[in-house]
Each structure stands twice: as C-alpha cells, then as structure tokens.
Amino acid sequence: MKTATRMITVLVVVGLFAGGTLSFVYRWAKPQIEAHERELTRQAIFNVLPETKSYEFSEKDGVGIYQCEDTSGNLVGYAFVAEGGGYQDKIKMMVGLRPDLKTLGGIEILYSRETPGLGGKIDSEDILQPVGETFTEQFRELQVSPPIESVKGKKPTSPNQIQAITGATISSRSVVEIINETVAKVTGILKEEGKKEK
C-alpha cells in the first residue's frame, strides 16, 4: 500500500511539474511561432502567383482571400489558405487561383507532417518520374474545372490531372481533395460577389 501511494504521488508530482513548465514555455514560444507563420504565409503568396506586387486581404464568408495585383494594378489572381486532413496530421497550403477561376497559379505547402520519405514528398524537391516535376510544381497553371484528378505512376494526359506520389496515394489524394474543395468554395464566394456588383 505504501509503495502504491508513493508511485502515484511521484507520477502526479512529475506530471504536474512537467505540464506547468510546458505551458510556461509554450506561452513564450507561441507569439514567435505565429509571427514566423505569418511571414511564411506572406512569402507564399508571391510564390503561388509570381507576378504579384501588392495584395489586399479581405475575409469573405469566413474565408480569407488575398486579392493580388501586379505593378500596373491588373488583377493577377486570388490567393487563399486551404486546409484539410492529410495522412497523419492536417495539411495546410497556400493556393493561387487565376482571375478566370479555372486555372491555378500554383500551390505551396505551409504545414504538413506526412511520413518522411513517402507522403513528405508533397513538400520536397524530389522530381517525380515520369512526369519530370516535383509534386507541387505540377500545380502550376493546372486546370481546376473539371476538378483536379490524380493518376498513379504515369504521365497525366488531361490538363486537370497530376501524378500522385508512389507509395503516398493518400497524401497525394488529400492535397488534391483539399484544393478541389477550397477552390469550389472560393469560386462560389467570388462568383456570388461578382453578381452583386453587377
């Protein structure tokens, strides 16, 4: 009985102490981590719509949309954050959509914790064969209408297809599904707004 009490006491004390210390460190680290994330998000806008010189942020129906313009003030597209479930954890990415709402400017992965070496390739410099591009490069100027499809182990044949990563079908499919879903949502919002203006 005495040992049992001692065991419980020690574990409770250690647990409480560890938890307390962690919450203290977390409170210190959180604002800094968030600042880095904001900076990454800002950088990503310029990567997914390379012609962007300035952008304007607005929140429409709960979705944050960056309206991007080039140096002479022409609309180059819309950038927005797309988020959804991956294989192990959520996948978060920046998506650039052209003004015709049918073509992607590109995508950039902001956060993912997929299996290193397999699903992790959604955010790596590895060139996929036979398509000859990295996973994210495939989304440059990709058609999103009809929705994007992923094909396995062969070169895509239609302008709305991408090649999935071998051994990481779920991660590849998740990225495609997240983009399709978010693009549909954003397109809906933007079209609705266009109608109102007319």
């Binding site: 040992t3 001692r6 065991m7 020690v10 574990l11 250690v14 647990g15 560890a18 210390t21 962690l22 460190v25 977390y26 210190w28 680290a29 800094q32 981590i33 880095h36 990454l40 914790r113 290193p116 070496g117 992790g120």
Partner: protein
C-alpha cells in the same frame, strides 16, 4: 584527484569507446534520416545534448525518490517534457531548421540513447557523474552526426556546413555531385563504410 579523473572518464567514453552510434549502434533513425547536411546533423545533435543533460540532471537528482516500479514511466514524462521544450524553442528561434528536421525533434522522446543512458547510468550515479556522462554521450552523438552529415553534404553538393569546397560542374568546376548521397541509400552506405573502417581499426588494437 581520483574523482576528477573519474569525471573525465565518464565524459570521454561517450566520444569514442562507447560512442552511441559507432559502438552501440543506438539511435539509428535520426542518424540516418537527418544527416543530409552537416548543419542538420549538428542541430539534431545539440537538441539531443540539451535533452540528455537536462533530463540527466533532473533524474539523477531525484533518483532516490523515484519508485523502482514506475521509473520508466517517470523518465519518459521528464524526457518528453524536455523534448517538447526543445521543439518549441527551435520552432520559435530557428524556424527553417525546425521545418527541415520536421518530426525528428519530437521523436527524440523515443531515442534509445536517452532512455538507455537514464536507465543504465543516470538512475544509479550522482548528479556530477550523470552530467558528464550525458555531455559525453551527447557530444559523441553530435560528433557522429556531423561526420556523417559532412561526408554526405560534401558528396552530394560539394559543400560542408554550406561552404563550397568542391566546385560543381554546374558552377564550372570538375565535381559531379552524387545525388544518391542525399537520398536514404547514401546514409546507409556512408554509415556502413564508416562502421567497417572503425571496426577494422579497433580489432587491430
């Protein structure tokens, strides 16, 4: 005099005679996975040193209070707390490095070197000796990762710690980078050759 010699021995054994990677073949997962560049290997090594020393000092100080039956559970909570702290500090101060190391920092929790040292050494020895043991083992691990990382980085891009040593063909030199060295097979090949060399030498002596 005897105690200071003892402390020195505790420190030095981790560097060579009981080197965690080369002699004990522990912690193969981070050793193979993060050593694509020397800097990544170094950062991973320092993270492990940090966790080893802090958990070593804490566990060694309270070793007589921890009941034998729940020692592993207690060690794991303490180690996990320090690993999470390390992960947060890294994410807050060096975001690109934190992104590059990805899940391998949180995975230090299950690193065999740490739990192994706590169970085999720290739980039986006073704070001063445990500190030296943790420092030695941690530095031994860091040293190994830096060696592996430097070799792989040199062979795959002609640089070490980002400093260009060999001029690549792309930059007008003669060196043609070995792509395989940055890929997982490169890690196995490098580690295998290094282990072979070390075993040959230690057998002779």
């Amino acid at each position: 005099m005897k105690t200071s010699w003892q402390l020195y021995a505790d420190l030095i054994k981790g560097l060579w005679r009981e080197n965690p990677v080369f002699r004990q073949l522990l912690a193969m997962c981070p050793t193979l996975a993060v050593t694509t560049t020397a800097l990544q290997g170094f950062t991973m090594g320092i993270a492990v040193v940090f966790v080893l020393i802090l958990s070593g000092v804490v566990i060694s100080s309270f070793r007589k209070l921890i009941p034998h039956q729940v020692r592993i559970a207690t060690f794991t909570i303490i180690i996990a707390a320090f690993v999470t702290i390390t992960d947060l500090i890294l994410a807050a101060t060096f975001p690109p490095m934190s992104k590059a190391l990805g899940p391998y920092v949180p995975l230090i929790v299950v690193n065999c070197i740490i739990l192994g040292r706590m169970e085999a050494f720290t739980s039986k020895h006073p704070v001063s000796r445990s500190f030296m043991d943790a420092l030695g083992m941690g530095l031994g691990f860091t040293l190994t990762l830096v060696i592996l990382g430097s070799i792989r980085e040199l062979m795959s891009s002609g640089a070490v710690f980002g400093y260009q040593i060999l001029t690549t063909q792309a930059a007008g030199g003669w060196f043609r980078p070995w792509v395989i060295m940055i890929l997982p097979p490169g890690a196995f090949i490098t580690l295998g050759i290094l282990l072979g060399i070390i075993n040959t030498f230690s057998r002779k002596s």
